[in-house]
Amino acid sequence: MQKNVQKLYSGNEVIVLAAIEAGAEAMFGYPITPSSEILQGWIESASSNRNLQFLQTEDETSAGFATIGSILGGKKAFTATAGPGHVLMQDPLSMAENLRIPFVAIVMQRGGPSTGTVNYSQQEVNLAAFGGNGDGLRVVYSASSIDELYSLTIKTFNTAWRYKFPSILLGDGYLAKMKTKFSPSKSIRPIKSTEMLEGKKNPTYLRNCFSSEEEFGAELDKNIADWNRLRSQIAESEVYKINDASEIIIAHGLVAQASKEAVEIMRNNRRKIGLFKPITLNPIDSRTLNKVSSGKKKIYIVESSRNQLSHIIKYELDKFCGEIVEISKPAQGFTAKEIVNKIEKD
């Protein structure tokens, strides 16, 4: 490439680079806007790297189950989807959750319900975290920039394979399609994948169907105990200008980026406001959340969905005595100026 020509990277392209960096070996997917370029990019990479496998399946459900099959065979496999495809993906996600299969799904959120819009949304938080017919033992990351898409993709793989909980990275249509300058951050060492069907002396039986409440309850108890033990290790957040703040904005994903800018604007207007950005939406970094919110006057929860983040945050807030203001615009984005206007009007 010529010295003066800059290559721009889209979010979807960056995810492919990160997945390869994370040691991913196979991808299964069904095209759906705005995540299709992940599958395309992966297949393009596979054309020059024979270690990378792929299959464009007949639907998202099959993509998910083929991913599971591949993982059982020892491959580090993943899928990417969005919106209605994410709804179908709950079927394999539930199986992975019950069998503790390290399943990675990259989800580029789009407006819903139904086919909605293809552009942008934060309405797939509940679906990602609690969408299955279980209790939501899945790790959900939310990325707020192209750089973070890269680092969190790698982290999502490592978390899935380290803790054996299905792990989902949430982005959105803007992040997926926007293009900007990108240089990969220092890589995190990938975790090795192992076969789950070893065929050794004793056969491995993987089942997720049980006959009695008690028998199944014992299985669930084990998984929930692991989740409770590990959640503080998994949970992550970022705080910004929080120390002297009397008010906090809580936002994730791209809205957190706009909120950061809004904090800057309001700080210039001498308003003492800071930002708490959950990086994992499930589990929430409740220790930091409660530490930074303690004694604050007001919390503004800003999101592009009808209070999905707010429900999670309110549940986690312990002893917060101030006021909570919910600012939500389902399936629409926020500029910093809009956030400032809403907060200053309040």
Partner: protein
């Protein structure tokens, strides 16, 4: 014998009529002006597991249809003993089929025990299929229902299954007989109808055969498929309480068809 609230657990084998007995019991109680609920145990197996039913009868409101402690447990098959253990308290009356379950096995898990040789009477007097009505007679009588109301409820529930007047009459007799059985306390019948689960071996100069009562579910496909009639429905019962086949080793031609078909891996004959 129904108190303010009476909690009953029924346990036995799939196909023994456990669920019918439980449902009719609940219906009888409602007919007497009680509140009653019945729920079946429903796992993924249609017939593979023990059959269990939960019944609550009460003068008051029944809030929740399951329970921890039972007042009465009716156990019809040895195999179900492991499933009833956790419902037994020192006050639980355990009513058991003393012709198939040994008293010493019941005493390991319960203190208040009542026997009735149900299988013995059913098999010797009415046939295996009347077992459920015989047991219902026993339980109905124990709970204080009279035989007319018992029969009316049974008839309502099962009339479509009584294919002939003769079958209907036989079942009615079994029910009435059950209601008259004197319950055993302290002196129990011998468990002479208890399944002998040891392998049954057959042998002559040319061949040897095996039938495994511990595995045989009594489908009798081997009898149906045996080309020379060497297998027949036997009089003994296996682990699942069903009649197991008997082998006539002299007639057998060692064709291997029984082994090929047997879904349970319970029969085979080989040349010596």
């Amino acid at each position: 014998m129904i108190h303010e609230t009476t909690i009953i657990l029924f346990a036995g084998e799939g196909g023994q009529g456990v669920q019918t007995i439980a449902e009719v019991t609940a219906a009888l109680a409602i007919g007497k002006g009680y509140n009653a609920t019945y729920i079946p145990y429903f796992g993924v197996e249609q017939r593979g597991a023990s059959s269990i039913a939960y019944v609550i009868i009460s003068k008051g409101t029944i809030y929740y249809p399951r329970f921890d402690d039972a007042d009465i447990i009716v156990v019809m098959r040895e195999r179900a003993l492991k499933d009833i253990k956790r419902f037994i308290t020192p006050n639980t009356d355990v009513i058991f089929d003393s012709s198939t379950i040994e008293a010493k096995d019941i005493h390991k898990i319960a203190t208040k025990t009542i026997g009735f040789p149900g299988s013995k009477y059913a098999l010797t007097k009415f046939g295996a299929k009347s077992y459920n009505l015989l047991v219902l007679g026993v339980i109905g009588n124990y709970l204080g229902f009279d035989k007319t109301e018992l029969w009316e409820n049974v008839f309502e529930k099962l009339k479509s299954k009584f294919k002939s007047k003769e079958i209907e009459e036989k079942n009615k007799l079994a029910l009435e007989f059950g209601a008259k059985i004197v319950l055993e306390k302290g002196e129990y019948s011998k468990a002479e109808f208890k399944a002998d689960l040891g392998d049954k071996l057959y042998r002559n100069k040319e061949r040897e055969g095996i039938i495994k009562p511990s595995l045989c579910k009594g489908c009798l496909i081997c009898v149906e498929k045996c080309p020379v009639g060497a297998l027949s429905k036997g009089s003994e019962v296996g682990f699942f309480g069903a009649n197991i086949p008997d082998l006539n080793i002299e007639k057998c031609i060692t064709c291997g068809i029984c082994k090929r078909f047997c879904p349970d891996g319970a029969v085979a004959v080989e040349k010596r």
